[in-house]
């Protein structure tokens, strides 16, 4: 018996009981929708993070203070990274090209009557290349600004906006903690990045930060480096480690009290986190697909019983066992595919709505494989849970089936 006939029969049967079909597939709909919604959000996130990290460049290295786990870590004294550490690396590690320290604090910036609570980034001249975020108007910090502890600042566009600065902001003054800073540049607009608005920043020279936050604050920095070439980045990492260990006078048995992060390490870490989120969701979804499958099996058993007489008639005029089995299997698969399709649409819509309403999230992104997965899973569920009812239908004895009231 041709497949097309079976599909026609199945559609007719489902069509005559639409509401029941939809309710039956609710489990599948929810399962597939959950998969697609989560995948679309997670994929959007990972897509954004990956492209942003790649934008920063493959030669980009971050060193952060890090207390090692366990007893060895507890034995160490203060865990800190200083400006001097950075300078030492820049001097002694031949594979390192550029260095800038970063001290990040939140503080209120004032302009006439307006004020805004923003991130103060204290850094040096090379930060704009390392961070790959350049000034649009005016200029960036220079070595001189840093050496002379100049009270100058570079603002992100959001800060300019929030402070209500009209006309050309260059040369105007803002105050941070009662100190007055001259605006020397405005950054190009960037938008959201890694859950933080890259335009909501105020950048000042690193040395000037001591006037604001004291000496103590500048002892726990994040150090940004750039390797001479992306190919030798592992060598650069080794050299940085070596210099910093010497700086911190660590003995050969002691663990590092810092962490050197390469772009690819960051990518890997983020992907591991996103991967485990996806895995947890997949587990939940697996359960809901099983529940959905049992729903389908249940309704197919009802359907087989209701249509016992139809099965008898079909067998009486020559339907073989496999014709009947096939008919009901196709029906079960179509049922779950309908659920899968509704689930995919529903899940994607959900993903779009969620990302629309939470501004920190990037736009939803559904990869083709997730759609394929949705369809594949629903077909499998239909097939698996359809087999038993279909086999029962196929086994019916024609005389008894015809006698069924």
């Amino acid at each position: 018996m041709p497949v097309l006939e079976n599909i026609k029969i199945a559609l007719q049967a489902l069509n005559s009981n639409k509401l029941r079909a939809i309710l039956t597939t609710l489990g599948i709909i929810i399962g597939v929708a959950a998969v697609v919604a989560v995948v679309s959000v997670v994929q959007g996130l990972s897509f954004m993070i990956t492209s942003q990290l790649q934008e920063a460049g493959a030669d980009f290295i971050i060193v952060v203070p890090n207390r090692p786990r366990g007893e060895a870590g507890e034995m160490l004294g203060r865990i800190e990274l200083t400006y001097e550490d950075g300078l030492a690396v820049n001097e002694k590690a031949p594979e390192v090209k550029d260095f800038s320290p970063l001290l990040q604090r939140r503080a209120t910036v004032k302009f006439s009557d307006e004020h805004t609570f923003t991130y103060i980034l204290c850094t040096s001249a090379s930060f704009q290349e390392i961070n790959n975020h350049y000034v649009d108007r005016g200029r960036f910090l220079t070595k001189l600004d840093n050496d002379h502890r100049k009270k100058v600042c570079v603002l992100g566009t959001k800060v300019v906006e929030d402070l209500g600065i009209k006309g050309n902001p260059l040369g105007k003054g803002v105050s941070i903690r009662k100190l007055s800073f001259t605006i020397i540049g405005v950054l190009e607009e960037r938008g959201q990045a890694l859950g933080q608005n890259a335009d909501d920043v105020c950048i000042i020279p690193f040395n000037t930060s001591r006037l604001l936050f004291g000496e103590e604050a500048s002892r726990s920095l994040v150090l940004y480096f750039r390797a001479k070439s992306a190919e030798n980045i592992d060598l650069a990492k080794e050299q940085i480690t070596e210099v910093l260990r010497k700086q911190h006078s660590l003995k050969s048995g002691q663990p590092d009290d810092f962490l050197v992060l390469l772009q690819q390490d960051l990518l890997e870490r983020i992907n591991t986190i996103l991967g485990s989120v996806t895995a947890v969701v997949a587990g939940i979804v697996g359960i809901s697909l099983v529940v959905g499958g049992i729903g389908i099996m249940n309704i197919m058993l009802v359907s087989v019983t209701e249509r016992t007489r139809e099965i008898g008639i079909r067998k009486a005029v020559g339907a073989k066992r496999r014709d009947i089995i096939f008919q009901f299997l196709v029906e079960a698969i179509i049922l779950s595919l309908v659920g899968g399709t509704i689930g995919i649409v529903f899940g994607y819509t959900l993903g779009v709505i969620v990302t629309r309403f939470i501004p920190q999230l990037p736009p939803a992104h559904v990869p083709l494989w997730a759609v394929g997965l949705g369809f594949g899973f629903s077909t499998l569920v239909g097939l698996f849970f359809g087999i038993y009812p279909a086999a029962r239908a196929g086994k019916l004895d024609p005389i008894e089936a015809l006698r069924y009231e």
Binding site: R314, A316, V317, G318, K320, R321
Partner: protein, 226 residues
């Protein structure tokens, strides 16, 4: 010879007791015969028809249809024979309620892998033979009892079977419609079809040329008539 039954038994076991629904029946049917099977309720008429119609298999004995032994074939083989060799008409019509007349008549052809166009052609022809050319798109619940039974006859005919079996085809119809149905069978007989009809009623049996009487699963008389 079209059908040769020899020493057919059908025994139902109900707990400890045995019911001999068919008890050692032997009979022969030649092509183009027109036969009535009569007998009181419970005498085994339906059981015998189901056996001849390959809906059921005998407990013992031999059933040769068209020179082929089919008493002990498996389910799928029997389904094929039902599809190709046998047209069955039931007392309760047994039409698919959601399908229209044409689709109901096409049903056996679907299971013999015949193209959609050919199916339609043959089904329309069969409906014409039973005089239902203008009821093609009606569903069973839009047809009278007699019309429903004629759709069922068209379905039985559509695969040009070797034999038409009708188990009390007029049992659910009033006498006027019953008479109409018998006239359809009369015409089919004139066109050289082989027909076996189960009936309680003398005036229905009078349409046929041979009457077989059953009692307690045994043939008690087998007579030709004019």
């Amino acid at each position: 010879m079209l059908i040769n039954l020899s020493n057919i038994n059908k025994i139902y076991k109900m707990g400890l007791t045995e019911i001999r629904a068919i008890d050692g029946v032997s009979m022969e049917v030649e092509p183009s015969e027109y036969i009535a099977i009569m007998g009181p309720s419970g005498s085994g008429k339906s059981t015998l028809m189901n056996l001849m119609g390959c809906l059921d298999t005998p407990t013992s004995g031999s059933y040769i249809l068209n020179d082929m032994e089919i008493a002990h074939l498996d389910d799928d083989k029997l389904a094929e024979i039902r599809n190709k060799e046998i047209g069955f008409v039931f007392q309760t019509f047994n039409l698919l309620p959601r399908a229209n007349a044409l689709q109901n008549v096409e049903l056996p052809l679907i299971y013999s892998n015949i193209s959609a166009r050919e199916r339609r052609k043959r089904a329309l022809h069969a409906l014409e033979v039973v005089g239902l050319k203008d009821r093609v798109n009606h569903r069973p619940n839009e047809l009278s009892g007699g019309e429903r039974q004629r759709v069922a006859i068209a379905r039985a005919l559509v695969n040009s079977p070797s034999i038409l079996l009708a188990d009390e085809p007029t049992g659910n119809l009033d006498s006027k419609m019953g008479e109409e149905i018998m006239q359809v069978f009369d015409r089919l007989y004139e066109q050289k079809n082989t027909i076996i009809v189960v009936t309680h009623e003398e005036h229905i049996a009078r349409h046929t040329k041979r009457v077989i009487k059953l009692l307690d699963g045994k043939i008690i008389s087998d007579e030709s008539q004019e």
